[in-house]
């Protein structure tokens, strides 16, 4: 579905996307990264609105900046705010259907249907500039869905939505994916995208940090430095044993007297040693807690690695 072959895009001397090399079959993917990571630029490349400085982009086998007919298969909901005056949601969605080739009458009927789908029936004949942020998001989504695309590209679709809107959006996108349609969901909020897809691309500074399912990424996490909190009745004894270990990065007292917060470079070795010490009765451990269940931990670690704050061995992103 998507192929990026060593794609680089420069805005003058600023790097938008840096040597992106990936091939994605049809499916649902989350593009996760902080603000300014290059998500929107990557979407610009995929939609042919931007042309790469180096490398190339293929969407369904063709270059979208040269053969625009492939764009009929895409629905895009950009992150930018919708600032149109004196136009109703219905008129705006109808315009975009016309631009996709729909005859005016059929476009009008279709615009009604799609606005109904996103829960905008009652407001469809109100001017867009009177809408709340959430209503504008729905309007943008309606426009993206209107032509029944094969690939839906959503850039920060949850922004501005209230909890009910978020719930409805999640359900809709889940259904979209389960109907066999493809989805590329760009967001900087991980927990929202985790509800919809299990395939992630982590991006930072225009570079792809890691790519895979959450299980694959967690496996990656096992080899990465981690912060772990240990609840113990023998904190001093445990601390004595830990401080001599070469893989220990830092050791602090936790929130209570009976807890230690540690940072380790090779967590697997810590777990092995803890098991031995606990079995021998030298230390007493009540609870271990880390952040390895959260993709965001991995993300932050990968970003730290990218910035050169962490030196790692045996980990490939």
């Amino acid at each position: 579905m998507i192929q990026l072959n060593h794609t680089t895009l420069l805005y003058g001397t600023v790097i938008g996307v840096n040597d992106f090399h990936i091939e994605l079959p049809a499916g649902a993917y989350a593009l996760v990264g902080p603000n300014g990571a290059g998500k929107s630029t990557l979407i610009g490349l995929l939609t042919g609105a931007l042309r790469p400085t180096l490398g190339n982009v293929r969407l369904y086998g063709v270059d979208p900046s040269r053969d625009s007919t492939v764009l009929q298969r895409i629905g895009l909901c950009p992150a930018s705010e919708l600032l149109v005056h004196g136009v109703t949601a219905f008129q705006w969605v109808k315009l975009h259907l016309s631009l996709s080739g729909w005859p005016i009458r059929r476009a009008a009927a279709r615009a009604d249907e799609v606005l109904d789908l996103v829960g905008m029936t009652e407001a469809s004949h109100r001017p867009i500039h009177t809408f709340s942020l959430g209503m504008r998001q729905r309007c943008k989504l309606a426009q993206a869905l209107a032509n029944d695309p094969d690939l839906l590209i959503l850039d920060e679709p949850f922004n501005g939505l209230d909890p009910i809107g978020r719930h409805d959006m999640s359900l809709l996108l889940k259904q979209w994916v389960s109907a066999g349609k493809s989805l590329l969901l760009a967001s900087h909020v991980l927990h929202e995208v985790e509800r919809i897809t299990n395939s992630f691309m982590l991006i930072y500074g225009g570079r792809l940090l890691a790519c895979g399912t959450s299980a694959e990424l967690r496996h990656l996490l096992a080899g990465l430095p981690q912060e772990i909190t240990i609840q113990t009745t023998t904190p001093s004894e445990l601390a004595e044993r830990l401080v001599v270990m070469p893989w220990l990065r830092s050791l602090n007292r936790g929130n209570s007297d009976q807890s230690l917060r540690i940072s380790v470079e090779r967590p697997l070795e810590l777990y092995q040693n803890l098991a031995v010490w606990a079995q021998s009765g030298e230390v007493d451990i009540h609870q271990l807690s880390g952040s390895d269940g959260d993709i965001s931990a991995l993300f932050h670690l990968l970003v730290s690695k990218h910035r050169g704050e962490i030196l790692m061995t045996g980990v490939s992103a």
Binding site: K39, A49, L71, L82, Q91, L95, S98, W102, Q175
Partner: protein, 296 residues
Amino acid sequence: MSQDALHDADTLRAKQALDRLNLAGQRPSPSLWNSLQGVFSYELIRTFTPVRVALWLGMAFFPALLITATIYLTRLPKTDDFEYRYYLVFSALLFILLPQVITALCMLLWAVPIVNAELEGQTWIYSVIRPGARRSILLGKYLVAVLWTGSCTSLAALLCTFIAWFLGVSKAFDSLLAIVAVNWIAAIVYGALMITLGALFQRRSMVFAFAYAVGIEGAMGWVPAVINRFTISYRLRSLMMDWLNVDLKGSPDGVKFLWEESMWAHLFIMATATVVMLALTLWRIERSQHRFQSEY
């Protein structure tokens, strides 16, 4: 109802809604005609806001007020050619006001911001990801700009003519057809010119277009030298004089100010210029790339 049941009901509703939207591969093919109609009707609707209607009326009534004041306040001596001279003054005023000032102002409002307004409204990205949409947007906006301007200047011409006739310029209606035709030609050619300037200078389009309108069309177009032939103003002026049967060829400066070529030559040059400018604009906007902005 339990939470699970509610969730299932929501899921089912979402599924049914998506099923309804499924086109099963029957997606329409890109069509320039359909997209052009869509853009034209959309842009036309946007002209009917209270502010824009007020502007349209203001532009149409302003020349009539000025012509009323001019005719009413100036009293030409009642010589033999009194009526003819009044007619010439009236026609010259109409020409300066309508195809020059009002058309240029209308086009500054409508044609120049063609790309800039889309960029500021952050709507450009929605359009550029549709196949062929850049073309439809350009042509649709251009047609609406021509219609808005042409209708405005035509109404203005009708009002001015009626007022002039009412105030004693008995030949006023003789020039109506000519001035209306020149107005529409001016809208077509100036529209193409302003759209081109708007597409070439996307960030400072209004500044460049205003400078061009004043410096080239306003000043250079009236210089009594061959250089004025490079302006639209010269071509329109020559056409108008031709259609009004005003012969200034005998006057030494008349030749430089006005026409030497035939009416068809002027029409051909302006038609060619319009096509070339629109093609240049299309070429420019097809190649435009804009940084994707993320608000969040």
